[in-house]
Subunit: 324 residues, 2 copies
């Protein structure tokens, strides 16, 4: 029931994911059963490993997470996470209220032993491919030890799911020299520099993110969230600015179409749909958070990414790393 | 002597500024006199109100500000700021080591009474025009009362120099609702909301910056600096990404040229050169900090902007506002 275009695109995305990985997946749709059944009328379900679990309540996108999580125990978020907790599902995917998913995950699944704060990474396109920035919104006022754990969890995710060996880990800062930045970042630098098994490449600046200065970029969730949303808006504004400029230069229809085709190719690189949702790392379970404005394609990718997180044992690796 | 291309472009920019405002300006070039004289050989100085003051030392772009400011008393930064302090110049402009300019300004000019921390605003292009974000690098670990002062100084600058009446002031945050964000931002919100004479429009998110959600956007210098440099890099990377896409789509030469012409028009909006440098607000004087990679055009604009800061009495307005 989560996301701006639910439940239609969520149902479509689930069906697409099953088609993309035939025989490998089962999907349980959690939500208002009558509504979901109506959406499913569009499909021939005979060959699809698709199930429906009824959840009569819905937590709205704008509801205060703390209140909603306490009061709406029959929401799709509660019932879905409950099914995961009880082992009836291997992972939980939601495009719903991010704060509510995080709060309910903490409440129902709990943190892994040793993890101070679970974290949500964001994906940024780079000139090479893309880089992982964490945290992007779950945590504000991060202490040095939180930043260090973000680095460790980010490294495990990049190794396991993105298959990059020994990824470069950097600290996002306002200058490259050691000793730069705020108090939390200065202390995190000292700890990261001495951490065995972590390829820490030091401080990087905002301008280095898109040049792929590192595979894992660590920052407080306040800065990460603002940078992520600012970046999304630059990409959203770009077609408008190009359009205004094309008009000012009085371009013909053919030229406009050519430019739009090239721009579409560039914008595709920035497309959150292809990143398949962000894992909530550090909870005792496998939770994928999809963008609130997810399309069917984005939901499909998030489900497939969730399956990969399960297959690659990301959560067990984090547990091993922090429990040791 | 400051900036990556000094002193040639600084001399060129000074000459251009004098040509742009004939009879209204005098420019004093401060630096190694022999070097400056050689650069000036390129010009006919008879009609130019241009002067040279010798400063034998140079603070390098990568020198540690605290040390350099203490030891190099004969640097162009010291001697230029000294001339301003003594009233022989109405403003000081530098494209040099930003940290050193700020440290020396505090040391030589001092803070205005009541100002807790001077601030440097950054300029962000928007769909409408541009918006002013402060702080973008002078301050980390800002307390709520610092953020509130950034709002007050930003409002004065926008009113006086950008001639926007009663500008909208917003707090950069990870959500729009009151109560969102880190501790400093939450407390700043409470104070700003009750401040008379300030049109506070509440919290805005990273995605709202380019949509011109406010004329003045307040944040800690850590987040502001990272967002500014990240934004610059997106614009720098864009031609590369478009170039790669044009190659992938095998576009002909004419199409490539058309696209490059349109792109140039868009990139111009993001061009720091046109913003004319950032004022250091809150010190007892008029200091303009130009980009380290300033072109002659950027230096010209910074000098003209400095003249405007003087003419509009920005520093006196801040002094009035905080001294009251």
């Amino acid at each position: 029931m989560g996301g701006d275009k639910a439940p239609a695109v969520v149902v479509d995305g689930a069906v697409q994911a099953l088609a993309a990985a035939p025989g490998k997946l089962a999907v349980i749709l959690v939500g208002a059963e009558d509504v979901l059944r109506r959406e499913l009328d569009r499909y021939d379900l005979a060959d699809l490993n698709l199930h429906v679990v009824n959840a009569p309540e819905v937590i709205g996108m704008d509801e205060a997470p703390a209140v909603a999580v306490k009061t709406k125990r029959q929401s799709s978020i509660h019932i879905g996470l409950g099914a995961h907790k009880e082992g009836r599902a291997d992972a939980f995917v939601s495009a719903g209220n991010t704060g509510a998913v995080m709060a309910a995950s903490l409440f129902i699944l709990g943190r892994l032993p040793g993890v101070l704060r679970p974290t949500v990474p964001g994906f940024f396109p780079t000139t090479e491919s893309f880089t992982v920035v964490l945290d992007v919104g779950a945590n504000v006022d991060s202490k040095p030890e939180h930043l260090v754990q973000f680095a460790q969890m980010g490294k495990i995710y990049v190794e396991k799911v993105l298959h990059r060996e020994n990824p470069a880990v950097a600290l996002l800062n306002i200058g490259e020299e050691p000793g730069k930045g705020n108090e939390a970042v200065k202390m995190a630098y000292e700890i990261l520099q001495q951490m065995p098994g972590l390829r820490f490449v030091g401080n990087i600046e905002g301008r280095d993110v898109m040049n792929h200065a590192a595979d894992v970029i660590v920052c407080d969730g306040f800065t990460g969230n603002i940078m992520l949303k600012f970046g999304e808006s630059v990409v959203a504004v770009l077609p408008k600015l190009l359009g205004a400029e094309m008009q000012a230069q009085r371009l013909g229809r053919e030229d406009v179409e050519t430019i739009q085709r090239v721009l579409a190719g560039v914008v595709r690189r920035f497309n959150y749909e292809e990143f398949g949702g962000s894992p909530l790392l550090g909870v005792d379970g496998n939770v994928l958070i999809a963008h609130g404005s997810s399309s069917a394609r984005a939901i499909e990718q998030a489900i497939l990414r969730a399956a990969e997180v399960v297959e690659q044992g990301v959560t067990a690796s984090i547990a091993d790393s922090f429990g040791a």
